[in-house]
C-alpha cells in the first residue's frame, strides 16, 4: 500500500488521529496499526486505551471494528489487554459484534493459544453455537473448526444430535460462507444410524441448488459421506443419487478455475460411485477454449465413465483430440484410447485401428505414445492383434523416449518368434546399451533372454553379450542382479528357465490407475478441500502434520457407540481377509515372475494394477500367516525357524536340504522388521522394482544349489517373501487347539504385535491373546474394547497385563468373553472389531471368530421337537454343503462333534448311508438343525443345514469343517 516505503516512523502521529469521529479516518488508522504495530510494539500500547474505549462505543459498528482490529495486532503485550473487551463483546447484545468477536477468539488463539484456554474463551465460543442468530453460529463454527485444526486431539466441536439440529437450522438462514463452514463441520459428524443420516441428507440437499459452487461441493461432500450409511435398496438412496448429478454438471459451466477443482472432485466421486454420472458423458467432452488443465482432467473422467454404451462417442472424441496441437494433451488422448481398449473389450478392435491410424501420421510423440499403449493392449488381449507388429517395427528408429523404447523392446522380445529379424532389431538397441535408461536396459535384458529361449541356435552370442554387459559393466544393482539370475537360470536348467521366463502372463486389468479403495474412502471425506485436488490425504502434504485427523467413511450399518469422535471408525479392512485369497503356489510363482513388463503401466506412483496390488498384498498377508504359524514368536531371530519348516513341505522334499541350508545362513541376522516391511515399501517404488526383486528371488528358491555366494544377506531377505503360500498348513500346534493368528502386525501398531485365537472350554468363551512388544519402549496401560458385533461378544473382564511389557517380551493372556454385549449385525457375520489401547496409542484390528465357540452346552434337542422344527422351517432356508476328505466314520464324527456341542439327536441307516440328525444352539438362542449324510468308504459328506436365520448356515458349515478336519 505504501509502495514499499517504510512509514513506521509516523507511528506516534498516526496513533494520535485514532480518536477521531470520522469513521473512514478511523478505519485507515486501524489499517496502519495492523501493519506497523509489530515493528513498534512499545508504541502500540498507546493505542490500547482507545481500543478499550471503542469497544464500549454505542455504535455496534465501532465496537465490532475495534475488537476486530485488536485481534489483528499481533503483539503479545496487547493481547493481554484484549481479553476483557473481548469477553464483553462475546456477550454483546448486537449479533454483529458477537459474530466479529467469535472470529477474534480464533485470531487470539493463533497468537496465544494458552491464553485463550485459560480465559475460558473456548467455552464461550461453544455456547455461541446455540446462539439465536445464524450468522453468529456460522462464525462460531468457523472459529472452532480453525482452532480444532491446530488441536486435532481436543474435542472442541462436540457434535451431538442436538447441536447438529441447531447447525442445520442455522444452515438455512446464514450467508453462503457460513453455510460452507457449517457443512464442512457437519461432514465430520458420524450419525448414529441410517435414519439420522437420511434426515440430515434431506436437510442438506437444498444446498445443491446454491449459486455458490463452494456451498454445492461442501453439500456434495456431506451427502457422499452419509450416503455410505444408507442402505442401497432404500428409495431415498436412489433419489439422492439422481439429485447429485445435475449440480455436479452445473459446476462445469463455471469459471475454469472452479471447473478444475470440481473436476478433480468429480474424479473421486466417479470412482466411488460411478452410477452418479454414468449418463453424463457428454458434458465432459473437451471444449475448444478450455484451459489445458481442465482438458486433461476431463480426459481422465471420460475414461472412467467409458462403457460399452458410450464407447463409440468417446473414441470419436479421443481421435479428434489426438490431432490437437497441445503436446501434453495429445499424449494423454492417445493414452486414453489405449485405456479404453483395455477397459471396454468390445471396443478393442476399433481402438487398435484408431491407434494404427495415428501411427500413420508419423508425428513423433503420437507414435511413441501409441506404441506404449499398444503394448498394454497386447497384454490384455494376447494373440489377437499381433498383426500390427509389422507396422510398429517400421517406426523403430523414430523412438527416442525411454518408455516407448522399452515398450517396443518388450514387444519384440515377447513376439520374437513372429518377427523374423528380431535378433537384428534387438542387437541394434544393444549397441548403445550404456546410454540407455535403466528401464530400457532391464527390458532389453529380458527381451534378449526371451529371444534366446525361443530361438536358441542363432542368438547365443547376443545373449552372452547382454549378460556380460548387464553383470560386468553395469553398476546398477537391479540390472546386475537380474543379469545374474538369468545367467544362472540359463546355465543350470534351461527348461526351468523357459518355464519361468516364458510362462503365461496374467492379464492386466482395466483399473490401472484407480485410487486405492482405502485412500479413496478417506479422500471422499475430504471432498472440496485441497486434499481432493491433490488426491492425497492431508497427512501427506499438510505442513508439519499438524492438525491431521484421519477421516473415514462411516460403515454402512450404523457404527458402534462411537460418538466420541470420527476417528474410531477406521477398523475397516480386516487384515485376516487377505489370507483367503491366496491361490495355489505354482500359479502365483509363475505370475509373480511374469510381471516383467518393465515400465509401470501408467503415470502416478500410487497407481498399481490389481494384479500388482494382489501380488504384494498376498506377500504381506502371507507373512502375517507365517508369523501366525509360529506359536511363540518372541522376537526377530526365532522367526527364521518356522518358515524353514514350512517351506520344504510345500516345495517338496528334494529341495528341502538346500533350502534349509539357505535358511541356516539367516540365523545370525535379526532383521526381521527389515525384511517384513520390505514388500510394502517396494510397492511405492513402482512396478519395475518389485518385479525385479521378485524375479531375483525365484531362482534362489528353485535352485538353492546355485546359491549366491558372498551375498547371503540378500537371499535371506527374499526368501521369507516367497514362503507365503503356507497359510495354516504345517506348523499347527495340535488338532484340538486352533493356531494363533497374527491379528495386528507390529508394524501397524507401533511395535505391538497381537496374535490370538478363540476357544471355548467348559461353557466359557475365551480369547487367548499373545502380546509381543517389538518396539524399543516399555508398554503399559493395556485395555481392550470390542465393537458391537453379531453375537454380542464383549470382554467379561478387563485386559490384565500385570507387569509392564518390556521390549521383545511376550505375554500370554486368556481373556474371558461374555455374550452380553450389545448386538449389531456385522458383515461377515463372524467378524469382530477390536480396539486395543496401551500407553502409546490406540490400535484397531478386526478378526473373524470361528462360530463353534458360540455353540452352547444345552444344544441337544428332543427327538419329537427336532422333527417338528425340521418340518416347520421352510425349505428355502435349507442349505447344502459338501465336506470333503474326511476319513472318519459316523461314530467318530458324532463324538467329535459332540465335544464341540453339536449333538446327534438321531441316527438312521438308509440304503447303506448313515444319516446323522444333529442340533446345536447358538449363544443367542438360534437353533440350527443339521442332517449329515455319510457314505461308508466315501470321504465326502453331505451336510444339510436348516435354520430360521439362514445367514448363519455358511458359518456353521465352516465350523463343521474346522472341527472335523482338526
Amino acid at each position: 500500500m505504501t509502495v514499499g516505503k517504510d512509514v513506521s516512523a509516523l507511528f506516534p502521529d498516526v496513533v494520535n488521529c485514532m480518536q477521531t469521529d470520522n469513521l473512514e479516518l478511523k478505519k485507515l488508522v486501524y489499517l496502519y496499526l495492523m501493519n506497523y504495530a509489530k515493528s513498534q510494539p512499545d508504541m502500540a500500547i498507546m493505542a490500547v486505551n482507545t481500543f478499550v474505549k471503542d469497544c464500549e462505543d454505542p455504535n455496534p459498528l465501532i465496537r465490532a471494528l475495534a475488537v476486530r482490529t485488536m485481534g489483528c495486532i499481533r503483539v503479545d503485550k496487547i493481547t493481554e489487554y484484549l481479553c476483557e473487551p473481548l469477553r464483553k463483546c462475546l456477550k454483546d447484545e448486537d449479533p454483529y459484534v458477537r459474530k466479529t468477536a467469535a472470529v477474534c477468539v480464533a485470531k487470539l488463539h493463533d497468537i496465544n493459544a494458552q491464553l485463550v484456554e485459560d480465559q475460558g474463551f473456548l467455552d464461550t465460543l461453544k455456547d455461541l453455537i446455540s446462539d439465536s442468530n445464524p450468522m453468529v453460529v456460522a462464525n462460531a463454527v468457523a472459529a472452532l473448526s480453525e482452532i480444532a485444526e491446530s488441536h486435532p486431539s481436543s474435542n472442541l466441536l462436540d457434535l451431538n444430535p442436538q447441536s447438529i439440529n441447531k447447525l442445520l437450522t442455522a444452515l438455512n438462514e446464514c450467508t453462503e460462507w457460513g453455510q460452507i463452514f457449517i457443512l464442512d463441520c457437519l461432514a465430520n459428524y458420524t450419525p448414529k444410524d441410517d435414519r439420522e443420516a437420511q434426515s440430515i441428507c434431506e436437510r442438506v440437499t437444498p444446498r445443491l441448488s446454491h449459486a455458490n459452487s463452494a456451498v454445492v461441493l461442501s453439500a456434495v461432500k456431506v451427502l457422499m459421506k452419509f450416503m455410505e450409511m444408507l442402505s442401497k435398496d432404500l428409495d431415498y438412496y436412489g433419489t439422492l443419487l439422481k439429485k447429485l448429478a445435475p449440480p455436479l454438471v452445473t459446476l462445469l459451466s463455471a469459471e475454469p478455475e472452479l471447473q478444475y477443482v470440481a473436476l478433480r472432485n468429480i474424479n473421486l466421486i466417479v470412482q466411488k460411485r460411478p452410477e452418479v454420472l454414468k449418463h453424463e458423458m457428454k458434458v465432459f467432452f473437451v471444449k475448444y477454449n478450455d484451459p489445458i488443465y481442465v482438458k486433461l482432467e476431463k480426459l481422465d473422467i471420460m475414461i472412467r465413465l467409458a462403457s460399452q454404451a458410450n464407447i463409440a462417442q468417446v473414441l470419436a472424441e479421443l481421435k479428434e483430440y489426438a490431432t490437437e496441437v497441445d503436446v501434453d494433451f495429445v499424449r494423454k488422448a492417445v493414452r486414453a484410447i489405449g485405456r479404453c481398449a483395455i477397459k471396454v473389450e468390445q471396443s478393442a478392435e476399433r481402438c487398435v485401428s484408431t491407434l494404427l491410424d495415428l501411427i500413420q501420421t508419423k508425428v513423433n510423440y503420437v507414435v511413441q505414445e501409441a506404441i506404449v499403449v499398444i503394448k498394454d493392449i497386447f497384454r490384455k488381449y494376447p494373440n489377437k492383434y499381433e498383426s500390427v507388429i509389422a507396422t510398429l517395427c517400421e517406426n523403430l528408429d523414430s523412438l527416442d523416449e525411454p518408455e516407448a523404447r522399452a515398450a517396443m523392446i518388450w514387444i519384440v522380445g515377447e513376439y520374437a518368434e513372429r518377427i523374423d529379424n528380431a535378433d537384428e532389431l534387438l542387437e541394434s538397441f544393444l549397441e548403445g546399451f550404456h546410454d540407455e535408461s535403466t528401464q530400457v536396459q532391464l527390458q532389453l535384458l529380458t527381451a534378449i533372454v526371451k529371444l534366446f529361449l525361443k530361438k536358441p541356435t542363432e542368438t547365443q552370442e547376443l545373449v552372452q553379450q547382454v549378460l556380460s554387459l548387464a553383470t560386468q559393466d553395469s553398476d546398477n544393482p537391479d540390472l546386475r542382479d537380474r543379469g545374474y539370475i538369468y545367467w544362472r537360470l540359463l546355465s543350470t536348467d534351461p527348461v526351468a528357465a523357459k518355464e519361468v521366463v516364458l510362462a503365461e502372463k496374467p492379464l492386466i486389468s482395466e483399473e490401472t490407475d484407480l485410487i486405492e479403495p482405502t485412500l479413496l474412502d478417506e479422500l471422499i471425506c475430504y471432498i472440496g478441500t485441497l486434499a481432493s485436488v491433490y488426491h492425497k490425504p492431508p497427512s501427506a502434504f499438510v505442513e508439519g502434520g499438524r492438525g491431521v485427523v484421519h477421516k473415514s467413511l462411516p460403515p454402512r450399518t450404523a457404527s458402534s457407540e462411537s460418538t466420541e469422535s470420527p476417528e474410531t471408525a477406521p477398523a475397516g479392512a480386516p487384515p485376516g481377509e487377505q489370507l483367503d485369497a491366496v491361490p495355489t503356489q505354482g500359479d502365483l510363482l509363475g505370475d509373480l515372475l511374469n510381471l516383467d513388463l518393465g515400465p509401470p503401466v501408467s503415470g502416478p506412483p500410487l497407481a498399481a494394477s490389481a494384479v500388482q496390488m494382489g501380488a504384494v498384498d498376498l506377500l504381506g498377508g502371507g507373512l502375517d500367516s507365517l508369523m501366525g504359524d509360529e506359536p511363540e514368536g518372541i522376537g526377530a531371530p526365532s522367526f527364521v525357524a518356522p518358515p524353514a519348516a514350512a517351506v520344504p513341505a510345500n516345495l517338496g522334499a528334494p529341495m528341502g536340504s538346500g533350502l534349509s541350508d539357505l535358511f541356516d545362513l539367516t540365523s545370525g541376522v535379526g532383521t526381521l522388521s527389515g525384511s517384513y516391511v520390505a514388500p510394502k515399501a517396494r510397492l511405492r517404488s513402482g512396478f519395475g522394482h518389485t518385479e525385479a526383486s521378485l524375479s531375483r528371488a525365484a531362482p534362489a528358491v528353485g535352485h538353492p544349489e546355485a546359491g549366491t555366494p558372498g551375498r547371503p544377506g540378500r537371499v535371506l531377505l527374499l526368501i521369507p517373501r516367497l514362503t507365503w503360500s503356507s497359510p495354516g498348513g504345517p506348523g499347527r500346534c495340535g488338532p484340538s487347539e486352533s493356531p494363533l493368528q497374527v491379528w495386528l502386525p507390529a508394524m501397524k501398531a507401533k511395535g505391538l504385535e497381537i496374535s490370538g485365537t478363540f476357544t471355548r472350554q467348559a461353557g466359557t468363551i475365551s480369547m487367548d491373546l499373545q502380546l509381543t512388544n517389538k518396539a524399543l519402549q516399555v508398554m503399559t496401560d493395556f485395555a481392550i474394547q470390542f465393537n458391537r458385533n453379531s453375537f454380542g461378544l464383549a470382554p467379561a473382564a478387563p485386559l490384565q497385563v500385570h507387569a509392564p511389557l518390556s521390549p521383545t517380551q511376550t505375554v500370554e493372556i486368556s481373556l474371558p468373553l461374555s455374550t452380553a454385549g450389545s448386538v449389531m449385525k456385522t458383515e461377515p457375520l463372524n467378524s469382530l472389531q477390536v480396539a486395543v489401547k496401551n500407553n502409546i496409542d490406540v490400535f484397531y484390528f478386526s478378526t473373524l471368530y470361528p462360530l463353534h465357540i458360540l455353540f452352547v452346552e444345552d444344544g441337544k434337542m428332543d427327538r419329537q421337537m427336532f422333527l417338528a422344527t425340521w418340518k416347520d422351517i421352510p425349505n428355502e432356508n435349507e442349505a447344502q454343503f459338501q465336506i470333503r476328505d474326511c476319513p472318519l466314520n459316523a461314530e467318530a464324527v458324532s463324538s467329535r462333534l459332540q465335544s464341540s456341542n453339536i449333538f446327534t439327536v438321531a441316527r438312521r441307516n438308509v440304503e447303506g448311508q448313515d444319516m446323522l440328525y444333529q442340533s446345536l444352539k447358538l449363544t443367542n438362542g438360534i437353533w440350527v438343525l443339521a442332517e449329515l449324510r455319510i457314505q461308508p468308504g466315501n470321504p465326502s459328506f453331505t451336510l444339510s443345514l436348516k435354520c430360521r436365520a439362514p445367514e448363519v448356515s455358511q458359518h456353521v458349515y465352516q465350523a463343521y469343517e474346522t472341527i472335523l478336519k482338526n
Binding site: L61, C72, Y96, D110, A214, L258
Partner: protein
C-alpha cells in the same frame, strides 16, 4: 483460511498486496511466476499451486491475476469463489476491474478488502451491504465530500447485515418502481458439415435489475419449468416453493443481481435459432486455403434475429486473411487470430481466404477454428 492476496498484472508486477494475518513475503509469488512461465499461455496457469509452506490459489480475470496465499487445508472452491467475488465487487464499484482503476481507488480497495474478509473469514460480500458501508466513488460524491468533509464510509451498521434477508437493505425508495429481467442463453453446440446439430446444450442465466420500494415479494413462473435440468439460485429464492410448485418466489436484492442460472442439457431438444453452414478447403501444394461460412435465420422459429456478431478464432499458424462478407463490417486481429465481422441483418455469407505459412505437418493436424455468434432475439 485466506492469508494474503496479491494482485499481479500481465507483465508480472505485484501492484497490490493485502495480508489478513501475518505478513507473507512477496517472494512467495515466485512460485506463481514459475508456473506462469511453464504454462506459456496466461489462461493455462493451474489454479492451485503448492509451495513448500503455502498454497497459492489464483484466478485470472480481466488480464489480472488474483493470487491468494493459504496455509492450511481450506476448500479451494471457497477461495476461488471469494476471489471472483472480489473481482466482481471491484467491477461493481469502479466500473471496470483493471489495474488503473484499482490504483486510482487504492484507499477504497483496501477498505473493501478489509470489510470483505476478517482473519480469513468472509465478512460482508453482498454488494448491497458493502455499498452501505463504503459508498462507491462518484464524481458528485467526491465533490460533495471535499466541500463538506464527510467521508465515503458509512458510519452505521448496515441494516440488512443480520436480518434473515441480508441481501436487501431496508428503506429503499423509488419514484418509478420497475423491474427488468434479462434472459441470456449461451448455446454450446457442435454443428457438422451439413449444418445439422451434433450436440447442443444451453447455459442460461436470468439477470435482474430490480428497482422497487420497500420489501417487495415477487414470484416468477415459467411456462415449462421442466425444461430446466439444473438450476442454481440466488440465496433470496425460496427453495421450498420451487421444489413444490416450480415457482420462483423471492424478496429481491436492490439493484443488479443474477437471479438464477440454469442448464438445459442435450437430452432435451435444443433448437438453435440460426443455421450455420461452413466449408473449408486447402489449395494443393500451397499454404493457402479458403474458408466459407453461411449463417442465416431458421424460418420456422418465428423470431426475428438482430445484431449478429460472428467471431472466428483461427489457429495460430494462420498469418493473414482476406475477408469478404456479404454484409456488415469486419476486422481481423493478427495477434489473437480473431476475425470478427459485425452483421446487422438476416443472412450473411462470409468468404475468407487465408494464408497459412505453417508447415504441412502442422496443417495435418487440421485447422481447428471455432466461432462465436452473438445475437439478440426478440
Amino acid at each position: 483460511m485466506i492469508h494474503s492476496l496479491f494482485l499481479i498484472n500481465c507483465s508480472g508486477d505485484i501492484f497490490l498486496e493485502k495480508h489478513w494475518k501475518s505478513v507473507v513475503s512477496q517472494s512467495v509469488c515466485d512460485y506463481f511466476f514459475e508456473a506462469q512461465e511453464k504454462a506459456a499461455d496466461v489462461e493455462n496457469v493451474p489454479p492451485v499451486i503448492s509451495t513448500p509452506h503455502h498454497y497459492l490459489i489464483s484466478i485470472y480475470r480481466d488480464k489480472l491475476f488474483f493470487v491468494s496465499v493459504i496455509q492450511t487445508e481450506v476448500p479451494p472452491l471457497f477461495v476461488i469463489e471469494f476471489l471472483h467475488r472480489v473481482a466482481d465487487t471491484f467491477q461493481d464499484y469502479f466500473g471496470e476491474c483493471s489495474e488503473a482503476a484499482i490504483k486510482d481507488n487504492v484507499v477504497i480497495v483496501y477498505e473493501l478488502l478489509e470489510e470483505m474478509l476478517d482473519n480469513g473469514f468472509p465478512l460482508a460480500t453482498e454488494s448491497n451491504i458493502l455499498k452501505e458501508l463504503i459508498k462507491p466513488p462518484t464524481i458528485l460524491r467526491s465533490v460533495v465530500n471535499s466541500i463538506t468533509g464527510s467521508s465515503n464510509v458509512g458510519d452505521t451498521l448496515p441494516t440488512g447485515q443480520l436480518s434473515n434477508i441480508p441481501w436487501r437493505r431496508a428503506g429503499v425508495k423509488y419514484t418509478n418502481n420497475e423491474a427488468y429481467f434479462d434472459v441470456v442463453e449461451e448455446i454450446d453446440a457442435i454443428i457438422d458439415k451439413s449444418g445439422s446439430t451434433v450436440f447442443a446444450e444451453i447455459q442460461g442465466v436470468i439477470d435482474a435489475c430490480i428497482k422497487l420500494s420497500g420489501m417487495p415479494d415477487l414470484s416468477l413462473s415459467f411456462m415449462n419449468p421442466r425444461l430446466l435440468d439444473d438450476v442454481s439460485f440466488h440465496p433470496c429464492i425460496r427453495f421450498k416453493r420451487w421444489e413444490s410448485e416450480r415457482v420462483l418466489s423471492f424478496i429481491p436484492p436492490d439493484g443488479n443481481f443474477r437471479l438464477i442460472s440454469y442448464r438445459v442439457s442435450s437430452q432435451n431438444l435444443v433448437a438453435i435459432p440460426v443455421y450455420v453452414k461452413h466449408s473449408i478447403s486447402f489449395k494443393e501444394n500451397s499454404s493457402c486455403g479458403r474458408f466459407d461460412i453461411t449463417i442465416g435465420p431458421k424460418q420456422n422459429m418465428g423470431k426475428t434475429i438482430e445484431g449478429i456478431t460472428v467471431t472466428v478464432h483461427m489457429p495460430k499458424v494462420v498469418l493473414n486473411m482476406n475477408l469478404t462478407p456479404t454484409q456488415g463490417s469486419y476486422t481481423f486481429d493478427p495477434v489473437t487470430k480473431v476475425q470478427s465481422p459485425k452483421i446487422r441483418s438476416e443472412q450473411v455469407f462470409l468468404q475468407s481466404s487465408f494464408c497459412d505459412l505453417g508447415t504441412w505437418e502442422d496443417r495435418g493436424k487440421g485447422l481447428i477454428s471455432w466461432l462465436k455468434l452473438k445475437l439478440l432475439t426478440t
